[in-house]
Symmetry: C2
């Protein structure tokens, strides 16, 4: 169970079938695999060896895809970086991962000036065609002579490090092995209904495993990948029509943007069979709208997390759940175990809320360079998700709360601690608490409650502007309350967020979107 076996299989069974479509670049599996082999040779020639980290900071493309196979093929480790992060966050990941090489595209060329100071990356490859910035290796010239890939990597070797936010404000690198990613891929094939004739569009960001899962699953079944650089409703609709897409994955905010677009009816989307979604349930209004404007599409609600590579549960594609069940995030995948447990890791009865624990061949090896955090997260052999949920009598899981102090907005995980940490560096801030509040469009949005130091005046704009220099735009507060009174504090001196959240969530059945 190592990643390149899927690639070899694809070439074996479908050499002349279309592997990748990125605008006018169309390649067969045979051509695609040759390029991956040449890229693997090129990486080796530039000194990338077993265990070395290769980071990538780029919008979606077929070249991104090639790297996702080429680096693990030679035993190296891919580090796909969230493109929406702020410069200090990107710098942290480059240093923490100790990346030897970085691949970036035009969009991120401005960060080049920082790289020299950062002293974090030895070698930078430029992904786009055209003018190449000084000192960078152009991607196409990185491709070396074709040579067979080396024999089997270790199944339990790390194939990728995927950074997520951190509960303590420090981003964590999730180490996933070949076996983790392959186990996940085969579950994705069964859960999302991939077939040899499927056409999957990468419309979500490829650095995120929600999409990355299909990078590996679609290859496993030798179907077709289509790429758009970033989510855009019209680009998506246009490519669905042009390339006859059958499968996509969208978070509810993306699905809403597609369904509500005034031009949605102008495109032929009749080949589109399945839309997986996750992060939060699909709002009823969006669902109804989609059923009208995209009648061929069946929905699959998926739930997971980077630590599980990522799939944990999915709704059943053979019998799309209805009514209340549609709000469930589905049932456990074929190779995974889920236990809804109390604080002592003892299973609670069906219908009772507990923490979601996950075990299986898809669960991460651990967090990069963070053995203590790893041990805590994987205690007793189960991954502790921090999600509060109950399971009904037929195994449908309902996420109702979040034990981790995390906000999910438009499909992105935002750890309150990261936002609080950013705000607290602003002079004049005495106390800060960041919470998620419900929002019709984004599911949840970030709300900050800030108490100024005595004698300091703080404005909302000032708080937001300060955040923008430190953290990704999507993590910055959408609303800020400047409050004079001290924050409610527990006996242990911790801010009590319950009372802060309550006014926003009261009258709802759940405390998450």
């Amino acid at each position: 169970m190592y990643l390149t076996q899927s690639l070899s299989r694809a070439v074996m069974v479908n050499p002349n079938g279309v592997a990748t479509i990125f605008r006018d670049r169309v390649r067969t599996w045979s051509q695609c695999a040759e390029r991956i082999r040449r890229l693997a040779s090129g990486l080796t020639a530039r000194g990338v060896g077993k265990g070395d980290r290769v980071a990538i900071l780029a919008l979606n493309s077929d070249r991104y895809f090639e790297l996702m196979f080429a680096a693990p093929a030679i035993g190296a480790i891919i580090v796909p970086i969230n493109t929406r992060l702020a410069p200090p966050e990107i710098d942290y990941i480059l240093k923490d991962s100790g990346a030897r090489m970085l691949l970036l595209d035009t969009t991120f060329a401005p960060m080049l000036s920082r790289l020299t100071e950062l002293d974090a990356v030895q070698d930078v490859v430029f992904l786009d065609d055209g003018a190449v910035p000084d000192g960078l290796c152009p991607y196409e010239s990185l491709l070396a002579d074709d040579a067979p890939l080396p024999e089997v990597a270790g199944h339990d070797d790390v194939a990728g490090i995927f950074y997520t936010g951190g509960t303590t404000g420090r981003s964590k690198g999730v180490m996933l092995t070949h076996r983790n990613l392959v186990s996940n891929a085969i579950m994705v094939v069964t859960a999302f209904g991939y077939r040899p004739d499927s056409v999957y569009i990468h419309s979500g960001p490829m650095f995120h495993l929600a999409d990355g899962a299909s990078t590996y699953a679609v290859t496993m079944i030798a179907a077709t990948h289509v790429f758009i650089p970033r989510f855009d409703p019209l680009d998506l609709l246009g490519e669905i029509q042009r390339t006859k897409v059958t499968n996509a994955l969208l978070v509810p905010t993306m699905a809403a943007a597609v369904a509500n677009h005034p031009d949605v009816g102008k495109y032929d989307t009749s080949t589109w069979r399945i839309c997986a979604y996750g992060a939060s349930p699909m709002p009823e209004a969006v669902l109804q709208k989609i059923k009208t404007v995209l009648p061929t599409v069946k929905f699959i609600h998926a739930y997971g997390m980077t630590e599980a590579a990522p799939l944990v549960t999915t709704s059943d594609m053979h019998k799309e759940p209805e009514g209340e069940r549609f709000k469930s995030c589905g049932r456990v995948g074929l190779l995974v175990e889920v236990k809804v447990a109390d604080a002592n890791d003892v299973e609670v009865p069906r219908g009772t809320v507990g923490e979601v624990l996950v075990r299986g061949p898809n669960v991460m090896l651990g967090y990069w360079n963070q053995p203590e955090v790893t041990q805590a997260a994987l205690r007793g052999g189960w991954y502790h998700s921090g999600d509060g949920a109950y399971m009904d009598d037929e195994g449908y899981l309902y996420i109702v709360d979040r034990l981790k102090d995390m906000i999910i907005s438009g499909g992105e995980n935002i750890y309150s601690a990261e936002v609080e940490s950013a705000i607290s560096t602003l002079p004049g801030v005495a106390e800060v608490a960041v919470i998620g509040i419900p929002d019709e469009k984004w599911g949840e949005t970030v709300h900050a409650v800030v108490v100024p130091r005595a004698g300091h005046a703080l404005t909302v704009d000032e708080v937001v502007a300060h955040c923008r220099t430190l953290i990704a735009g999507y993590k910055c507060p959408r609303s800020v309350e400047i409050r004079e009174a001290p924050l409610p504090i527990s006996g242990a001196g911790k801010v009590l967020k319950g009372p802060l959240r309550e006014p926003f969530w009261s009258g709802r059945e759940k405390r998450v979107a």
Copy 2:
């Protein structure tokens, strides 16, 4: 990846769905899992522990199914015995495996008298209801109190030993681990199109992994198992109608028996969607007949071997191959690697015949107590199948020859060496060679060429009758040639079978059925 995870999952997602149907015994997944837990407790109470072998010699039933999960759940090893073997062959397996316990049903009660002499099994459990032979434990009373199954077995612990014939005349026990069987099961789910609403009928023998694969795969997806004791066309058709079967697995001779049965049209088989088959290609005439009398059924040709747990290739269920392709045994499964190689294990070009080598998480740990044979079979990390095949440009595999001296008759593997060894114990036999010859009904049949010692007269009946006392009926020769001239011999003194086979196979494109 251990077997009971599938069972826990089935109870989690489908507690009230039907798990097993055997005549009028119908049980839900919740009831079925409880019985398996009680059986596991009962085995433990009778002293069966981790690593102990538990053999079963019985026709198909729901109780057979229960054992296939209960023994591995406590770390014990199941040893399902081929019900068609002759007494000396069964005795060999009981002794070789060192089985601590044996479960048998009425059909095999006559062997009880031998067990005491054999000194091979400490504990015998009787699977049927009604009168229990003296000293045996009735199955239902073996079921003890319900208790949770023990925590996770080792993924790479042996879960079962499945005996196959031996090239040297000695039967080999194939050790398959939890991971082997689970990896195979998830490939079977994808390859045979199992869905949560599938109903699979165990019509082939459960001791054989062609069926055993579905024991685990159908459970993984929490669908329904139906059992008939043994293959019988009318029983099969009746149960398909009564229980609304969707999936079955038949070897071509069975499929022919169903399609050609005069009463086939009297049954409602409209729920039957998929029929997997293997061992040999479906003859064109049978195929055409089935398409007429069973128009809802789609065919999936599968190829594998016990050593691969067993699935290696399958034809594509989303696009049933036509014409010549229908004779192919399909393309490689999602997690498996196949290499068609020359005598030095170097891959040969497409279209060239070589030996089929197999690698993957489904490939056996090795042969029980036969480290040298294991090392030879798994040399270089690949399982050497002994099957000669070529692969076409799109990865379809065609088996054309057999490097091992084996005959496949009616779906059963028969090693010539075992038959030769039986015949040679008959006084008056000077030389013997056993070959497979083509047969319209059975694919191949066993043909023996026997040279008597000088001064001895041998008759055909005598040879066959002698074989019947030593080996399974299906292994006994269907035809015998008594020949006075010595057999053709190689320079190394080995019988040359090519010249013996040639008259029977000439004019055909392949040297196997």
